[in-house]
């Protein structure tokens, strides 16, 4: 099977950004023919006539980029299949332009053992679609008491470690986890939240006070970010900070990077899109953890993306059903879905010229893979994991017709410009519009 993607603007930041044809043979990229090199004007279809592909995608006017990777997704299987399954999550990811997703271990049972890791990989591979890369737990049953068997988890196929959803409160345990994981090379992804300060349901400030809702201050996050930076310095082991939302956290990460600490960070699209005053009162579809912050924090998140303090955009896709969301605000579950809106929301930053397209692709495709030590990019000989984006396509996101099993999103009905139109994994088209 030969697939030719012709006339697209191929963007692999730091490597190529020009119009080129890409030939895929089997699952591998075998040729990248830059039009400039071939004298395209005189012989526009040279490649096609020469190699006689089985399938041709005309990507004129489209961006062909390395397959997007969402390193922070909750798939809910095993245990909460009424919210999302591996299959439905994969469909949503493929529609959102993702070729790889990392799934967090807070399933039921928790992914803290070889069997669950292998189950997730097995179930996802049966579908031969988006690559699902399990993140296993740092501590057994996410209890923050004992570390898991990281060697076993690595052998089973886990790509990172996290107790996401719950902070690792015990600093000594965090130190041990960093030290012990070092020999496996599994990155620790830290959910930073100081629980005694974080007893609230939305961002602390005037909006929460007026609504009579208990607040979560920025310091609940930044205190633990600072602790984890200190522990990374102490141990010399890298740490990745999940879903950064607060200005103070970003400052701390920026300072740490400047002095050479091996810390990386991600944020989610809602933190650079919305603030705590942008959403309707008591809309549980805008309740997530960390919470939507103030205007100052949103600006700081954007600045952190621009200057490289924040390496990654990840959705923190967190499906919940109506049972968890159609209740009182303080009783509602934290989290929103994001796989199908992440790219469109991020492209808004490119449209507004906050980020260049290279920066965006770096944060949504290359950096997540680099942080976890996985191959990435568009090169001859690499797996053909590609996303094709139509930067001009207008569309309206509808949660109702989305692929996720859940509908908990504040972005229902939003109008966007630009979306993925092809998602290709190992040379196979797993989604096309």
């Amino acid at each position: 099977m030969r697939t030719l993607i012709k006339n697209g603007t191929v963007i692999d930041p730091g490597h190529i950004h020009e119009i080129a044809d890409i030939l895929i043979e089997g699952s591998i990229v075998t040729r990248i023919d830059k039009h400039a090199d071939m004298g395209r004007l005189t012989a526009p279809d040279t490649t096609e006539s020469r190699i006689q592909p089985d399938h041709v995608i005309d990507a004129a006017g489209l961006w062909v980029v390395p397959g997007l990777m969402d390193m922070h997704v909750h798939l809910r299987e095993p245990g909460e299949e009424y919210k999302e399954t591996i299959a439905s999550g994969i469909s949503a990811a493929a529609a959102g332009g993702f070729t790889r997703i990392c799934c967090m271990p807070n399933t039921r049972p928790v992914n803290d053992n070889r069997q669950i890791t292998e189950f997730i990989i097995h179930e996802s591979q049966k579908l031969a679609s988006v690559r699902v890369l399990p993140v296993a737990a740092i501590s057994k049953n996410l209890e923050g008491i004992e570390i898991c068997e990281y060697g076993e988890l690595m052998d089973a196929g886990a790509v990172a470690l996290s107790d996401d959803g719950r902070p690792l409160v015990d600093s000594l345990l965090m130190r041990r986890a960093l030290e012990y994981s070092k020999s496996m090379g599994l990155r620790i992804i830290s959910h930073c939240e100081e629980p005694t300060l974080a007893k609230g349901v939305m961002n602390e400030g005037p909006a929460a006070t007026a609504k009579g809702l208990s607040g979560i201050p920025n310091a609940a996050e930044s205190i633990m970010v600072m602790r984890d930076i200190a522990l990374s310095e102490l141990t010399g082991v890298p740490v990745h900070i999940a879903h950064v939302s607060a200005l103070e956290s970003i400052r701390a990460i920026r300072d740490a990077k400047a002095r050479g600490v091996s810390v990386t960070a991600e944020t989610a699209p809602h933190y650079f899109t919305l603030t705590d005053t942008d959403v309707a009162a008591y809309d549980t579809h805008a309740k997530m953890n960390p919470p939507l912050r103030s205007e100052k924090d949103r600006d700081a998140v954007c600045q952190g993306l621009v200057d490289g303090t924040i390496d990654v955009i990840a959705s923190d896709h967190a499906p919940h059903s109506r049972l968890e969301k159609e209740v009182a605000f303080d009783a509602a579950a934290f989290g929103i879905i994001g796989l199908e809106t992440s790219l469109a929301l991020s492209l808004r930053l490119v449209i507004k010229k906050v980020l260049t397209i290279e920066q965006l692709i770096t944060k949504m495709a290359l950096n997540p893979a680099r942080i976890l030590g996985l191959p990435c990019g568009i090169s001859q000989g690499l797996s053909a994991d590609l996303t094709i984006i139509d930067p001009d396509m207008p569309h309206v996101y509808s949660a109702e017709t989305g692929f996720s099993k859940s509908r908990n999103t504040p972005f229902d009905g939003w109008k966007f410009t630009g979306r993925s139109v092809y998602t290709i994994v190992g040379g196979k088209i797993i989604f096309n519009l």
């Binding site: 929460a208 006070t209 609504k211 009579g212 809702l213 208990s214 009182a328």
Partner: protein, 312 residues
């Protein structure tokens, strides 16, 4: 003015004109409770559901009496007797309540925002009888009515509110309501009881009691929640009483004709000294009396009374 509002959810959503209308109608209602036969047929055939999902005696009884004096049929559902809510979504709750075809739903809930969430989903009028730490608009309105009676107007009055502002829906609704009517609000309490950004509701904040009550026309004392355990905001009631309790000595800082208010129930000897609570400045029982008239006025207006009145 003709009444057009379906629900009473918070003070933010009431205009100056609407507040004035409510207070006028409430003043007219007072006389009914003075009659030997305390009942008028105004709401005959109307159904009022009192849905109290959090313990309450004072407010529930006040609504109950108000509805009965207007001849409405009153059904009380309290948390203890209700199978509604357990394990069901708010949509389910709303649908079940709506299926009983009430005209007015009075709701008290421990979670902020629930009355607003239900109001958007059901046809009946909704009156918020207190939700979480968000709002208690009927308390604010009866407080405004009581101050009006004593002071003649609200514009320009200096009002001190003292106590645990962070956990007080009464404080939030009073700040918004009184400031909308032109009064100047000063809050006092230990900083641990002062929520972040409260100034944005229209008030200024101090942690010195005497600064708040200096030259005040109205001093409103809030209940200190003894039951708030596990997350103590003050080291002891003794120290709180010393620093923030209203004593005769402290009261001298206020205007000579200042009135003392308390939404009840009081902790005598903690936030308010017994001789102040029982003294000539206190209007605490007037608040309770006015509560019935005020709630009669709201039930009347929401069940179409405002339109009739305007036609006359």
């Amino acid at each position: 003015m003709a009444w057009s509002k379906k629900d009473i959810l918070d003070m933010e959503s009431l205009s100056v004109e609407e507040i004035s209308t409510i207070l006028d109608v409430a003043t007219g209602m007072k006389e009914i409770s003075e009659r030997p036969i305390k009942k008028v047929p105004t709401l005959r055939g109307k159904t009022v559901v009192l849905f109290f999902h959090e313990p309450s005696t004072r407010t529930r009884v006040s609504f109950d009496i108000a509805a009965k004096r207007l001849s409405a049929d009153v059904i009380a559902i309290s948390a203890g007797t209700s199978s509604l809510v357990k394990g069901e979504t708010l949509i389910d709750t709303a649908r079940n309540l709506q299926a009983m075809k009430p005209d007015i739903l009075v709701i008290r809930h421990g979670s902020s925002g629930v009355p607003s969430m239900l109001a958007g989903k059901i046809a009946a009028s909704v009156i918020n009888a207190g939700d979480g730490t968000h709002a208690h608009p009927t308390q604010a309105l009866l407080d405004m009515m009581t101050v009006m009676e004593r002071k003649g107007n609200l514009n320009g009055l200096k009002i001190a509110i003292v106590g645990d502002i962070a956990h007080s829906r009464v404080a939030r609704s009073n700040i918004v309501g009184f400031s909308r009517m032109g009064a100047k609000i000063r809050l006092a309490g230990p900083p641990t009881m002062m929520p972040r950004g409260i100034e944005s509701l229209g008030c200024c904040v101090t942690d010195v009691m005497d600064d708040a009550i200096a030259d005040a026309d109205v001093v409103m004392m809030l209940r200190i929640q003894k039951e708030r355990q596990g997350n103590p905001l003050i080291p002891s009631e003794r120290e709180y009483a010393k620093r923030y309790g209203l004593t005769l000595q402290r009261l001298k800082k206020a205007k000579p004709d200042a009135i003392i208010m308390h939404p009840g129930p009081m902790n005598r000897g903690v936030e308010i000294a017994p001789d102040v609570a029982d003294g000539p400045h206190a209007v605490i029982l007037d608040q309770v009396t006015n509560g019935v008239a005020l709630r009669m006025a709201l039930l009347f207006l929401l069940s179409g009374g405002g339109r009739d009145a305007d036609a006359h």
